[in-house]
């Protein structure tokens, strides 16, 4: 069924423009893919990589780029380390088969590989969330930027629950989260709620009992959490363990199924905005993606898998739009012409100034049976 669906999809996408120009010749097209599948970011890193692998396999199987054209990933490990990412990129530069690259979960690492590949090799960022990373025609990002969605979610929840005071948790060592929290706080203030406390935590923190005690000491009506993944789940678990009964607002780091498996019950009813989830996204592409991914890797995809998947589909689409032998410059120029990703799991994905944008806002929460459902104001 899935094969049929993707074949149908691929054929409509492929054959329509095929008559317009001569396609890319058959051959082996290699994308250099820097992964962080070990080290501190390993969990997310594996999701990104699995999504990308699946996209490459689908593009090849459906002859999407051109009949007989094979898209392969050359995956090199960087373990979240800037120096190793740079070395990997240098190896891709030297490998003449590599026509485009994809990398990076951490924004500082994107900044340090950018000068390496500058003007030589196109890069599609799959995971780093800092705004302003893309610079066409060489650097693109398919990361679903969470900032604007956080602000909307905070405002929506504040309007529904009408809190008088709100306490915030923020990752003090992460500028992206600091900006997200500041924007959310401003939106909440417009609804008339005051700030009871801002509690900062660090990415490497492990104990959250004391910060939870601090937040509860400020006696807020709602607690909003803008931190990286392990602090976010730690904070929510600690708040509930210490008996906090009020509302908590989270962010998209709570979405992976592994987080439910890890923390469980304390997450129930915590609203957060979401770009992708197998439970919520129900388009034909999304269903096909979920089914294929689950079959291949034994667990359903998460928002990170979706981003890895879209990164490779964006490159595939650029190749598909070209005719003649693709060069590195040609791929970059073709990427610059893409205004959206046609094959996407979100139900719409425009590309503006090198940044792919996910349209629409979905606020979800975990339910007691371990699935995600659209959040409803109580």
């Amino acid at each position: 069924m899935r094969k049929y669906a993707s074949w149908l999809l691929a054929s409509t996408l492929t054959f329509a423009p095929m008559f317009a120009h001569a396609a890319v010749p058959a051959g082996d097209y290699v994308i250099g893919f820097v992964t962080d599948s070990t080290g501190p970011l390993a969990a997310a890193g594996q999701s990104f990589t699995h999504g990308a692998e699946l996209a490459a396999a689908e593009i090849t199987a459906s002859n999407y780029v051109a009949p007989g054209a094979k898209l392969t990933l050359d995956i090199k490990e960087a373990a979240g380390d800037a120096a190793r990412s740079i070395q990997d990129m240098h190896q891709f530069l030297a490998d003449r088969r590599v026509i485009a690259t994809s990398c990076c979960i951490l924004s500082p690492i994107v900044n340090s590989v950018k000068p390496v590949i500058a003007e030589k090799l196109a890069l599609v960022v799959y995971g780093a969330t800092a705004p302003g990373l893309p610079s066409p025609p060489w650097v693109y990002s398919v990361t679903a930027l969470p900032g604007p969605k956080d602000t909307e979610t905070a405002a929506t929840v504040a309007k529904a629950l009408k809190p008088k005071t709100v306490a915030y948790f923020v990752s003090a060592d992460n500028d992206a989260f600091k900006a997200r929290m500041a924007a959310a706080e401003a939106a909440v203030k417009q609804t008339g709620a005051t700030t009871a406390a801002v509690i900062s935590v660090l990415g490497t923190d492990t104990d959250f009992t004391a910060p939870a005690t601090q937040a509860m000491g400020a006696n807020p009506d709602v607690i909003m959490v803008y931190t990286t993944q392990s602090p976010a789940v730690g904070i929510i678990a600690a708040l509930r363990a210490r008996g906090y009964k009020g509302a908590i607002v989270g962010n998209d780091v709570l979405a992976p199924a592994a987080m439910w498996k890890k923390i469980g019950a304390p997450l129930v009813g915590v609203p957060f905005p979401l770009s992708f989830s197998p439970d919520v996204n129900q388009s034909a592409e999304a269903k096909a993606f979920v089914a294929a991914y689950t079959k291949q890797y034994g667990n359903p995809p998460d928002l990170y898998s979706a981003q890895g998947y879209q990164a490779i589909w964006l490159i595939g689409q650029a190749l598909h739009s070209m005719d003649g032998q693709p060069t590195r410059e040609g791929v970059a120029a073709a990427l610059a012409k893409q205004t959206g990703i046609d094959h996407n799991v979100y139900g719409g994905q425009a590309v503006k100034n090198g940044q792919a944008e996910v349209t629409g806002l979905t606020i979800v929460n975990w339910t007691a049976d371990g699935t995600l459902a659209a959040w409803k104001a109580p």
Partner: protein, 295 residues
């Protein structure tokens, strides 16, 4: 006042874990002269073993904890025998052992990552005690009480062992000078195995308790403890377990209170400023003896 008391309790509970971890780290350093970079991985593996015992074998909390502690001890002995014993035989000194411990750190961290599929796991709710004692208006959650009691018991027991028992005398003798101890009729092999397993067991205990109370069972658990335990050893001094215990609790309380009343971003600065001033002003730790001299 209420908040202050609650935070002091929180600080003591975190500090108890630092202290437990630091005792083992300091013990190996003082007796065997090894700066063991792999010490944190014992904690990670103990927590992972405890987790699997609870989730897959369905063991209750106490046996799972014991299993974790044994895992820590066994691992410490294996690492010692593979990584340190060959060097010891050749008299290669502290440097070689540091490097082989780094090697084991790389290996075990990577294996721990594979064992949890690179995820950070948590003990499921209901597999560990969650009762709360009310001391007046201050809540004392079970895991915090267990951590603090464990630290007190372990510190008293090991301090007694080292200062009063024959094994302890032998350990001190080996720490002073291994050759001289051997001439005096001490079996250094036995002392080495006892020290390694004791250190692994305390690290394992800290790992299981820390894995539960911080919702983090993964290879990052040990790494975090390694830095904090290391700080506790520097402040407390490595030749006395009481120092490591007191310093661990002190660091925990200082951390929590500075985050509450000053700022989170200054929290680590305060911890390490404390560390620096101890190094400059009292460079042998809290209970250090100025006459201590290593051969």
């Amino acid at each position: 006042m209420q908040l202050l008391l609650e935070q002091v309790v929180n600080g003591c509970a975190i500090g108890a874990l630092y202290g437990l971890f630091a005792i083992g780290f300091g013990l190996v350093f003082a007796t065997l002269g090894i700066l063991n970079a792999a010490h944190g991985t014992y904690a990670s593996f103990a927590a992972i073993a405890g987790y699997y015992a609870v989730v897959y074998l369905g063991l209750p909390f106490v046996p799972a904890m014991v299993l974790g502690v044994i895992t820590g001890a066994v691992l410490a002995v294996i690492v010692d025998q593979i990584a340190f014993q060959p060097l010891r035989k050749r008299g290669a000194g502290m440097l070689g052992a540091l490097i082989t411990s780094i090697a084991f750190w790389m290996i075990l961290d990577s294996l721990a990552g594979l064992a949890t599929e690179q995820q950070s796991l948590s003990f499921p709710a209901g597999t560990y005690p969650t009762w709360i004692i009310m001391a007046g208006s201050v809540p004392l959650p079970a895991m915090q009480v267990i951590a603090i009691v464990s630290l007190v018991v372990v510190t008293v027991a090991i301090h007694w062992l080292i200062t009063r028992s024959r094994l302890g005398a032998a350990m001190r003798a080996v720490g002073w000078n291994e050759t001289a101890a051997q001439l005096g009729g001490v079996n250094p092999r036995l002392v080495i195995l006892a020290t390694a397993s004791l250190a692994g067991a305390t690290s394992g205990l800290a790992g299981v308790l820390g894995g539960i109370s911080t919702n983090n069972v993964s290879f990052t658990l040990g790494e975090g403890m390694l830095l904090k335990g290391f700080a506790a050893v520097v402040v407390g001094g490595y030749d006395d377990v009481r120092g490591a215990a007191v310093a661990g609790v002190g660091l925990g309380v200082a951390e929590v209170l500075s985050a509450q009343y000053i700022s989170t971003s200054m929290r680590d600065a305060i911890t390490y400023a404390l560390l620096l001033s101890f190094l400059v002003l009292r460079p042998r730790g809290l209970f250090g003896r100025t006459s201590f001299m290593r051969a």
